[in-house]
Structure formats: structure tokens, C-alpha cells
Symmetry: C2
Subunit: 292 residues, 2 copies
């Protein structure tokens, strides 16, 4: 039970079977897609079986486990954040690396057997109604490698049908985000949260977050611009990102927080928010809260 | 102006002079130790000059710039979080990698010239009274490599006098922290903050942080145990880590927060806090708030 790379195993190494993958220490369970629960997920295997999955090589939308009538079968019950799903949720919260292996069954998998594709981080997760009408837990994973690096490492065993998706190249990486814009919005609001008005002082300066309304990375691909940002305290930032509330775009009312009923977002006259992004976030709020 | 590794430059590569280091794109300024300000710090060079610095190869305690009578001279004025110091503060807040190069002047430097030692992350920062009685900004940097990996990469050019410090090996890495303990304390308090009592709900579960009183990593090296932990909301976690307040160890009073004057920390009967750790944090609070 170890997080991170396994000594002696390189990204791109292939294995004949799940048994071989397990013997190598990459992924111990022979059937389950997720290894690890109560202290985070050590690894996952992608081998098809969930109709809601997306695989763009360096970005994966991964459906959690449970609620199927048979492995790889139909969704017939709700999923919860338990077992492996709990593991992936913890991996996100504690920012732990997850080993990813792909099987030959899927388009980005190897020609034969299973391939170790390196470390990914769970950027976010959600629990929404899937295509079959039941709750599914979904995890957004991003490779620690860029799409170019990953393609280079996996090239020998990628199928001839492999084709880079266009969306994958549009990701703004963490390293390319504009720190200045984020600092500007904090200064504009004097580090006061637009939801609750709190200004968190510390001896090395006030604490606030320049938060993106439509997230920067996949799957959202929102722009890194002040029209897409809010100045929030860490509490209301976390709750915003996990869809505890949304902002009504026609009157900027805060909806979903008990303590802020009928309250409106504080907006500086020089801060123009693009309501397109508020509406995007609202749509995600409804998905995550299973409302119509 | 680029974050991260420079294409074609390997960790351990050496350069004859600051000029060569600049031409390679590793660190542009020929004199200043920090490159980058308003959007984070791209790189730093360690070449001595600050008596408060600590260098354990994979961990660096780095004193910021400013306030010296001459480069490498005596501290004669306060430092502030401006220019390069602002850069390193932003690198911490936005979790951006900082390129580190070492000069031949220091014990862990190369035998000659300057050496590129790879990417480090600013884990925390503080502004305290230094040895000369003036404010200095200090940054705690941790290599993305383990001490073993780093020694291997740098071996050819390490001086014969290089000796691994004992403290460096005692670091608990992020990957070894016990997620279960942290989850246990959140469950014990039902995700309610021990300072303010708030329970932040979200559709995928309540949000709280299992926070270490004496930090896990360097320089604190606190234990990963429930006696050294608190259950806090993100706001009070950030303020705790940045010494906006402390907990008085004899009566558990919260000191330093306007809104919680004469209030006490909520403590569950089954949660034994070791006051040694509270006293350590209190000492750091006084250092960071420059009180005796």
C-alpha cells in the first residue's frame, strides 16, 4: 500500500494481465477498478465499463464504483462516497497522486494487456445523476505530465486509432494561470469576501482567494479573466467549488446558504461579472444537487 | 519568464558564472537572488549572504531580499513582502514551482560556478525578527525530489565536505501522512470547527480540515497524531497556520481573533490535546507577531 510510482516500473511499461499488474505492485485488486479506500486511492484501472467516462489521455473523467448489475453492466442503483469512491475523494482532498493503468479494452489503452500510465491527481469530484437516472460519483483526474510528455512516453504502445482530442489541448495549466488577475481582484475588494464580507487578517497579510466561477482546468475550461472571478474567503470558496450555493445571474442573490438567505453578492462598481459564467456554475449546482 | 524546468537543462547541470546561468534562462538577474515579483518567483540562487539561512539540500530556509547595507552585508533595516519577497509569497499561495540554483560559495553548492538543483515548492513563509533585530521575510522551500533522489542527481558535483543533516531524514512527507487520523478527528467533531463551530455543508459531504498544531513538514517536524491536531474550517485553518491567533494552553482560550475574544476552543472529551504542541505554536505566534 504505497502512493506514487512503484520502484522499477516506468510510465509506459506494459503487463500481460491484471495478475501481472497486481504482482508488480501497481494495482493489487484483480477485478476492482479502484485500489484503496480509507486512506486514499493508490491506483485505478481504466478498462471500459462505464458509459459516462471520458478519456483524453492526460485528462480522465472517471466514474466511481458500485450500483451496476454486473461488472461493466448497467447502472441500477445509486453510488455513494464509500469504498473506492471514498478513496478517490480523499485523494482529492489530500492532494495524493493516483497511479493510472489502462487496459486494451479502451481506445487510449495499449494494443495488448495493461499499461502503467503514471501519476494523476484528482482535481475535483462530484455526485450527479448519470445517464441511467441513478446517482454516480465522478472524478476529474489530470496527469502530472502534459499531453505532449505523456504521448511521448506512451507512443510505443498507443493504438493506431489513437487521436488527440481537441479539448485536451485547450487546458490552461496551473502554471499558466495569471497570478496578477487573481491578486488584482483581491486588492479591488480589499480581501473582503464577496459573500460574507469577512476580511481574514494575518501577520503576513490578509487571506482571500481569487476564485474562478467557471473553473480553469478540465472539464470546465473557463477563461482566466476578471469577468470570470470572485473574491472569496476560503470557506465560501470551497463551498462555491463544491456547489453548496450559486449566484442568481439576474439579481446576484446568493442561493443555497442558510445564513445568507435573500442576501446578494457584494459587487464592486468596477467589477463586471459575465453572467454566462454564473449560469454555467448554476447549471452545475443543479446537477450536483439533483434539482431540475 | 517561465515557471518550471527549462527545456534542455537537467537537474545537476553546472554553469561557469551567473552570466551563463542567465543566458541559459535559468535565472535572469545577475545580482539579485530572486527572479520574479508580481506573478510569483521563477527562480532563486543560493550563494550565501544571509546568516539566518538553513540549507539541508532538499529543504531550504531562505531569507528574503532587502534591508542589507550591501549585498551579503549586515541587516540594517526591515524587510517587507515586496519585490522578490512578494514573488516567493505568491509562489507559496499559488503553489508554483521555483527553480533553485546553488553557488560554489555555500557548503551544498558545486565545487565551481553555479548548479541547477531543480524545482522546489514554498511550503510556508513568515516575517519575524532576525538575528540583527530587524524584520526578515523567511521562506521554507521543499524540493520536489526526496533527499535520496536529489543526492543521486547532484552527486557528481557535491563537495567532499557535503554531509547529510540528520534533520532532513526525519521529514514526514505529504505522502506518508495518515489520512485516517485526519478523517477521524473530523468525524469526532462532526466536521464542526473547534474555533467558530461552523459546519460547512456541501452536496458531496461536509468540509473541514484535520489541521496539525505543530506542522508535519520542515521546519516543525510535528508528529502525525490526534494529540497534535485540531478540526478547523478552512478560514480558521489558514489563520492558524499563518499565526493570526493561538490557543492558550492552560485554559484553551482563543487569543488574537477579534470575533472570539474570551472564547475557548471547543474540545471533545475524547480528544486529548498535547499542550506541548500548543506551546510550540504559541511561540511561533509571538515570533510572527513580534511580541515578547
Amino acid at each position: 500500500m504505497q502512493f506514487g510510482h512503484i520502484e522499477g516500473i516506468k510510465v509506459g511499461d506494459t503487463f500481460e494481465s491484471r495478475k501481472e499488474l497486481a504482482d508488480a505492485g501497481v494495482h493489487a485488486p484483480l477485478m476492482a477498478g479502484i485500489w484503496g479506500a480509507q486512506e486514499g486511492a493508490y491506483s485505478i484501472v481504466l478498462s471500459g465499463g462505464y458509459e459516462d467516462d471520458i478519456d483524453e489521455l492526460n485528462y480522465i473523467l472517471y466514474t466511481g464504483q458500485g450500483g451496476q448489475d454486473a461488472p461493466g453492466g448497467k447502472q441500477i442503483a445509486d453510488q455513494t462516497f464509500s469504498k473506492g469512491n471514498k478513496g478517490l475523494q480523499l485523494s482529492c482532498q489530500y492532494n495524493l497522486p493516483v497511479r493510472v493503468s489502462r487496459g486494451h479494452q479502451i481506445k487510449n489503452g495499449p494494443q495488448f494487456g495493461y499499461r502503467y500510465d503514471g501519476l494523476y491527481y484528482v482535481e475535483s469530484y462530484e455526485r450527479i445523476i448519470g445517464q441511467r437516472g441513478f446517482y454516480i460519483c465522478r472524478f476529474h483526474l489530470q496527469s502530472e505530465d502534459s499531453i505532449n510528455q505523456l504521448e511521448n512516453k506512451l507512443k510505443p504502445s498507443l493504438k493506431s486509432s489513437y487521436e488527440r482530442t481537441i479539448r485536451a489541448t485547450s487546458t490552461i495549466s496551473r502554471l499558466k494561470r495569471n497570478v496578477k488577475i487573481s491578486e488584482n481582484i483581491k486588492t479591488l475588494y480589499d480581501y473582503k469576501c464577496q459573500v460574507c464580507g469577512v476580511r481574514l487578517n494575518s501577520p503576513s497579510g490578509p487571506i482571500a482567494i481569487g476564485a474562478h466561477i467557471k473553473g480553469l482546468g478540465q472539464p470546465h475550461n473557463g477563461p482566466d479573466a476578471i469577468e470570470n472571478m470572485l473574491c472569496l474567503c476560503p470557506n465560501h470558496h470551497d463551498q462555491f467549488d463544491y456547489y453548496s450555493y450559486y449566484i442568481e445571474s439576474d439579481n446576484f442573490e446568493i442561493i443555497g446558504l442558510e445564513d445568507f438567505k435573500s442576501k446578494k453578492l457584494n459587487i464592486h462598481p468596477r467589477h463586471k461579472i459575465d453572467i454566462e459564467f454564473l449560469n454555467y456554475h448554476k447549471k452545475k449546482y443543479f446537477e450536483n444537487n439533483s434539482l431540475k
